[in-house]
């Protein structure tokens, strides 16, 4: 009676015509995020600085052709990137009013089919495991998917609790469930016509990183620096024959707000009545687990961190990414359209500088805590540094996006890795100091020779005197820098055997040591004792 009448009224809902844009005509991608593709962890195991960017960020700009009828229509955009952030989707070049933009992610899953089939007539097929005979009954879905109850001939039975081989057959798909999330816009055009539009949006799952290789020349005075852009696609979308560009610099990001909406996927979890103690041996039909192994319950595609393939395209200099300014960032355009396949990483060169002058020096930074109250003195190795100036006059003068630098030293048996360091975004004009590792033949031995309290009128001061032996056992002359952090209120050097410089909050003494050379540094530093009773 009334139910039948209501069912008929459901039909006129589809008032607007659907216009399906099945694929873009052309796509351009702009990658952000400086995604750390090669997981090189620093010594503390920390990678926190890069973690926020791990999902990457890409701006996808698509050119699409749409034939719009006059009046209101719903334009469905198929073939967008799978990790699209729908609220960032914008369209240009459409001379029609956008009434609303929708992103539907009610996905077609076994659980969703059951949830939307309450009260529907389905068929229950049972197969006899012994004879292979099937029985086919009409049933009405009464509940589910967390435990499915069926009405059969006016009686109630549970699905998947009997131990029989059972399945449901649905006469049709419930409406509103889609195989993949769907982006659509409802637009109103005054006249019918063809539109060429730019659909652009942000998506996750793609990013890039800069990687550098330094080759130190045999003269130990110049080096060759090559820079690579590594494009990483961790998403399931392949971008074929696409102009690609990357943006260097730190963008303000909100990883929490700018992310694809998570579909609430209903799993078809089994909840049967308990099966008793005696029945322990019966394998329980765990539907949820089954669903997971079959892939019904999807892990987020971004969680896939293994890359199926690493492609290296051309190492020739002519195919170098070209830099241009983008606001306060640097944009590098990949020289030719390229295919970035799903779960692929790809490298292109963006920098190749040869014979860049540098200086090698050795550094030791004293840790006060480790020499105070210490009487077991051992020589400690100094750290090897490479110092260069990012200036054109110094053979460089290029913006250097942050990334990992691998330094190769040329030895008698060919090149060898001398160390890796992380480079921050480095504009032109800044000095660069690369830390390579510990030097075997350059050592420093600091020891505290006196610790005194100097009594003053209004407060006492602590004076610490240090003697440092420095040695160069290398067959070449070296420069060695001894660094004393200037920390604490009222810190000052009150006595020294050689004059110091002050830089970056450190007191520094510099020595030039010939092969086999030795030197001794003596200094005293003084600061007020801890403020406990300031009267």
């Amino acid at each position: 009676m009334r139910c039948a009448a209501l069912a008929l009224l459901l039909l006129p809902l589809a008032a607007t015509a659907d216009v399906v844009s099945s694929a873009p005509d052309a796509v351009r991608v702009t990658l952000y995020g400086n995604l750390a593709a090669n997981a090189t962890y620093d010594e503390e195991g920390g990678y926190a600085e890069y973690e926020a960017d791990d999902a990457g960020l890409v701006m996808v700009s698509e050119t699409r052709t749409i034939d719009l009828p006059a009046g209101t229509s719903r334009v469905v955009f198929l073939g967008v990137a799978d990790a699209i952030v729908p609220q960032t989707a914008g369209i240009e070049g459409l001379s029609a009013a956008i009434i609303e933009s929708n992103f539907d992610y009610d996905l077609l899953t076994p659980g969703a089919v059951i949830a939307k089939s309450h009260g529907e007539r389905v068929r229950l097929v049972r197969t006899d495991r012994a004879t292979g005979r099937t029985t086919d009954r009409e049933a009405i879905v009464r509940s589910g998917p967390q435990g499915v109850m069926l009405e059969i001939d006016g009686k109630i039975e549970a699905l998947g609790c009997s131990g029989l081989s059972e399945k449901l057959i649905f006469p049709r798909l419930p409406p509103g469930l889609a195989e993949e999330p769907q982006l659509s816009m409802t637009v109103r055009a005054t006249t019918a016509g063809r539109h060429t539009v730019q659909l652009s949006y942000l998506a996750l799952g793609m990013g890039w990183s800069a990687d550098y290789i330094v080759r130190i020349g045999p003269d130990d005075r110049t080096l060759d620096l090559t820079g690579w852009i590594t494009l990483v696609n961790r998403s399931g979308t392949t971008f074929a024959n696409t102009p690609a560009e990357v943006v260097a610099g730190q963008l303000a990001r909100d990883a929490e707000e700018t992310q694809p909406p998570g579909p609430t996927q209903i799993s078809e979890g089994a909840s049967c009545w308990p099966i008793g103690q005696f029945a322990k041996l019966i394998p329980m039909f765990r539907r949820a687990e089954l669903a997971r192994t079959r892939g019904f319950i999807q892990e987020t595609p971004l969680a896939v961190t293994t890359l199926d393939e690493v492609a290296v395209t051309g190492s020739r200099v002519p195919f170098q990414a070209q830099m241009r300014e983008l606001g306060d960032y640097k944009l590098y355009a990949v020289p030719e359209p390229t295919t970035i396949a799903a779960r692929q990483s790809k490298q292109v060169s963006f920098l190749a500088e040869s014979r860049v002058p540098f200086t090698r020096l050795y550094m030791f930074k004293v840790d006060e805590d480790s020499i105070m109250n210490e009487n077991d003195f051992v020589p400690r190795p100094a750290t090897t540094l490479l110092r260069l100036q990012n200036k054109e006059s110094e053979g460089l003068g290029k913006p250097l996006p942050r990334g990992v630098i691998s330094v190769m030293e040329s030895g008698t048996a060919g090149a060898a890795l001398a160390g890796q360091d992380r480079l921050d975004d480095t504009p032109v004009g800044l000095p660069i100091e690369l830390t390579l590792g510990k030097a075997m033949d350059v050592w420093v031995e600091p020891r505290v020779t006196a610790e005194e309290t100097i009594e003053g009128e209004d407060h006492d001061e602590q004076r610490v005197s240090v003697e440092v032996r420095l040695a160069n056992d290398k067959p070449v002359p070296i420069t060695l820098e001894y660094r004393q952090p200037s920390t604490g209120e009222g810190f000052r050097i009150v006595r020294e055997s050689r004059s110091h410089t002050f830089k970056e909050g450190e007191v520094r003494w510099t020595f030039r040591l010939r092969p086999g050379g030795r030197a001794v540094l003596r200094y005293s530093m003084q600061r007020p004792t801890e403020r406990d009773d300031d009267t």
């Binding site: 009434i99 609303e100 992103f103 006899d128 012994a130 029989l164 730019q198 308990p274 606001g327 800044l430």
Partner: protein, 472 residues
Amino acid sequence: MNRYGIGLAVALALSGQALGASTDGQRLALTIYNRDLALVQDVRSLDFTAGRSRLEFKDVSASIRPETVTLAATGVDIVEQNFDFDLLTPEKMMEKAVGRQVQIVRTNPGNGTEVTETATVLSVNNGVVLKIGDRIEVLRADGAPTRVIFDKVPENLRARPTLSINVQSNAAGRRDATLSYLTTGLSWKADYVAMFDEPANKLDMQGWVTLTNKSGTTFNDAVTQLIAGEINIVRAADDWQYQQYLQQQQYMQQQQRALAAQRGGNEPGARRPLADYYVYPLPERTTVADNQTKQVGFIDAHGVAARKVYEYYADWFTTLNDPAHAAVVVRFANSTRGGLGAQLPAGMVRVYVRDTDGKPRFVGENRIEHVPQGSEISVKTGEAFDVTVQPTLVKQDRAGFWRSRYSMEYLVRNARSQATTLEIRQGGLWREGKVLEESIKSTRPDAYTLQWSVPVAANGETKLTFTVETGW
């Protein structure tokens, strides 16, 4: 159950599929608040019987807050409201069958023959214990496939939570009834697209409301309005999502302070206020589907006066070994004079610039809180690659009773081919903080902060030095 005897008529008001299919003059109105709350007003034409009757609403939001339900219709009084959330599952079904008879159909695993018996369910604890004739058995203890057939579904087990209302109607007949309730699972926020034209010092701004429905229910053809404002909502103390939200708000406020966020508004808003909040009605009826985000435009402003500034904020006197990059901040006002006379509800501002090919490129995003009209808004888009600051604490001295003296040096480098200015703000001043000397004249936005505008030539550098004394 049937407490009113034979006289009770059960009117299954617009069951299942009926909701929203704008039938029978059914009209839905949604008022959606910023975070996870909506007021649903559902006007239905119901055929009441005189006297007592029970109305069942199976199709309300799956995330309904039942304690907020009201039903209003002429000549109809509510006797009681029930919300049944005991869901029908096999286990519940079996528990309710304790002491009752069920049919057991056992299939012989060897030859497939079926034997049907009547059993009484004795208990459902760690297994189902049955009494079949004189025997006591455990269901499926032998591993043989065994079906259990129940006579009917118990009254209060339902496929989904169900709202029922017992009413007393003074007359029979068809009348409009308004069912209203609060539901979670619906929320909205604003997303702004700011196309920034740096050389022209202008931006174009589009505002979109983004509505998210995770309530489990589709609302068809609803008249929808959105409320901007922080309404007070009583929450359970263990609502971890809400606790998380509060923490996030606190963090945001700290961040805002660090960024000189915005100057308060001084213009009356054009938007229609509802008490102390602002209302954004959507222009047309719309269907808010389950698992959907929907966007509708609400601001489209062109040529809004805007400028870019570089900022650096230090909350303490300290040395950095590596230079820090200056923050890039786009600053504009939502005043009528500036070209954007509108309140801005809280949301994300995403900033784009046009590249040499004329196409937009994304340059950064940040959150804003509710911004009254006439305010100045600062959106940090990112860090400048080419403008860096290297702070050095040159000297730190004791200056008497709980007082210290700090000498700082800020080396500002500009690798850009245009001269620029960096706004450096220094926190860390406490009791009786004062400047002893400085290379550039400072301003004092508040008692605890100093600010300098440091000009830097193209491809040049400028050193800002100052000494301050402060108590602590």
